[in-house]
Symmetry: C2
Subunit: 231 residues, 2 copies
Amino acid sequence: METQTVAATSAGFASQHELLRAARHLAGRTIAELVHGLDCELPAEPVRNKGYVGRIVERALGLSASPLSAADFETLGVELKTLPVSVASRPRESTFVCYVALSSLVETPWEASRVAYKLARVLFVPIESEPHLTLAERRVGSAFLWSPTREQSALLQADYAEIAGRAASGELETLDARVGRVLQLRPKAAHGAVRVRASDGEGLPSMAQPRAFYLRAGFTAEVLRAALRED
Amino acid sequence: METQTVAATSAGFASQHELLRAARHLAGRTIAELVHGLDCELPAEPVRNKGYVGRIVERALGLSASPLSAADFETLGVELKTLPVSVASRPRESTFVCYVALSSLVETPWEASRVAYKLARVLFVPIESEPHLTLAERRVGSAFLWSPTREQSALLQADYAEIAGRAASGELETLDARVGRVLQLRPKAAHGAVRVRASDGEGLPSMAQPRAFYLRAGFTAEVLRAALRED
DNA sequence: CAGGATCCACTATTGGATCCCG
DNA sequence: CGGGATCCAATAGTGGATCCTG
């Protein structure tokens, strides 16, 4: 049975290439088909189930809840990201990268940052996600491995520096999601009132909105176009 | 009197450089000040007086209604365009270039087109035009002469070809203002029901909406940035 | 709470319509 | 009707908020 083939590949991958092949094996399948071999429920509607597709693809590729398979991806040095795309292969959303504390931003250069580490190597799995499609109907596209080109890396680093600079000088008023040409900082929490421990400009304890790095849709659009040209 | 200085330069210019100097002489003045030396009325509000600033600047530079001074600009080979800009020097609007008949588009290559001719050399006069400013309060910026760079020319030509191609193949449904990265085609008339004589795909007579070429605001923004870097 | 993400009200952009003059 | 342009309702874009899971 087709879906069992997917399950069979789910144990550890020896290389990034092997992982890519497994991901490409999913191309053309609907989410319903992925779920079929995975013993899990399929919610009817996308809304209120935001991370669902991402988790299904993780599982279809063997990244289960177990620490062991999570370690596979860790060992391979690959970050897995589903990318919701329109029929015209245009990303419909920005891409979450990771949380970050403003204080760590100030201390950490781009090269040593978690965002740079996560973006060093990404397996993008496009998902055709027109709003009118149910989760079940959404279809997996052709996955690809990406690392930033020299130009892209320069853009990311410049945005990081701009964001870190504003954090350092305490210009929190002007440090919103509009900053950054390709990388941006946005609130990320269950709701807007959530606060976490932080330190203010002078290192004194304070409470702050949790924030995370995101890639702008325009940037992943460029990444996707380049990948399509490769094919 | 200062405004007489302006009037004194209004007779024919010997060169583009002389014209540019006269235009730069207007920098920093308000429209009220320009009008002061010109014997004409100043409407209170911008709305319902759309071409007013353009005509005032023309007159301040000696392009009166008389065919003679119009010929000055013609002889110099310069097109005069005011450019409404925000305080951040961002163009607030697209820029009208000229009317065009779809039939002529099909026959005329870029090099021989009126739009290419008009864009070959332009004197842009930025006007600070925040919506809350009355006409009188709007201020003239630093004028500059522009000709398309090689890259800009390639973009313009490619857009022209794209537009002409759709006109040729009769794809009028897809030939709207969205076509063209920097150059676009838009309806231009007193109102949407205006029609002019035209010919259809087979050369048969028909009625069509008058259309004109415009430069997108994003393009003139780039032109303006380059000019500001020069200064 | 970190990580898988998308939602959606609001803002920014702009395509088509329009205004005045000669 | 061509040329000087801007207006503004509708659409596109996105910043901040939010949802579910382990």
